[in-house]
Symmetry: C2
Subunit: 204 residues, 2 copies
Amino acid sequence: MKGIHLITNGKLTEKELQDLPFLQHDVDYIHIREKSKTAQEIQTIVSFLLEKGVPKQKLIINDRVDIAAINNCHGVQLAYHSLPVDVVKGTFPELSIGKSVHSLEEAVHAEKAGANFIIYGHIFHSLSKKGLSPQGISRLQEITQSVSIPVVAIGGITPENAQAVLKAGASGIAVMSGVWNAADPLEILKQYQSVFNNGEGGRH
Amino acid sequence: MKGIHLITNGKLTEKELQDLPFLQHDVDYIHIREKSKTAQEIQTIVSFLLEKGVPKQKLIINDRVDIAAINNCHGVQLAYHSLPVDVVKGTFPELSIGKSVHSLEEAVHAEKAGANFIIYGHIFHSLSKKGLSPQGISRLQEITQSVSIPVVAIGGITPENAQAVLKAGASGIAVMSGVWNAADPLEILKQYQSVFNNGEGGRH
């Protein structure tokens, strides 16, 4: 789970989809997180990416375990409204299961239930979580010290603050609006990458 | 696929859910069709029904192949916005796959793609398809004569017109508002049942 997780913005446009096969070289994982799209639409997105050479091992599907399994993707990302981790684990042991958590208690519970990694946030103030108070670096550190599975940090992470996130024990960083809203997404991704390359890097 | 398919109304209440374990004895299949509910909510419904003794072989899940697979349900019902039949078939050969179709062309295509049965409609004017013109009995007959997989008819089917539907070659009938809106759902189901018991019955 080490590295950069690029998460789709929930309203992926045709233009953004066309860009993904180019951006994929500079990220470690792509999360297809398009809650308002139908299964058919998400399957079309995944098929397009696979045809364009995106490795299936880079793809993580939000919520839809069936789509992850059908395409032999790396894994599935489960939210509070998704199927329970242990239930998914039992039927789909080949999938890497990520769980989105927002507290230490949820993080510990996810690990016990069999999650392969967690996404924890939001760490900093972020455009997509306006008005909600962020978790901050010290809580992130508490989480990374309390679970042995990789922690991917999400929320307001910039190339500038990413080093502090990795120092707090995060294995990966999840990026969304910072990349999608950028004039040059590739340039931003290279800035994130340099943090991993120059810094001490994540744990796993 | 012979018999009565009771389909949830998309806004299943707690009261209706509590009734299902009693109604199940008088139906052959229960379709959980709750598009606006989350995966977690649908899983909770399925777990409840299984705990209350509803046989998993009576349960068909709409759209969510993962939930059908996890619970070893009879099958999954796919709509136009769902994952494609052939793709689901390849990964989940143990599931019975139903496809919802609205024309002869779609019916033939579904059979070729590997569907185990189709739901075709709407046959008569129905509360849930207001303003759309119904397919009618003769088109239903054309479909049942053109495919070899079972055809379940849906839409405005009453205990009074059900015999004509079976005579047109339908294996099963799908019921929704006629049952859920009834003052006594069990009484209505018994009326549907008597059509199967007294009449010539469906094909499969």
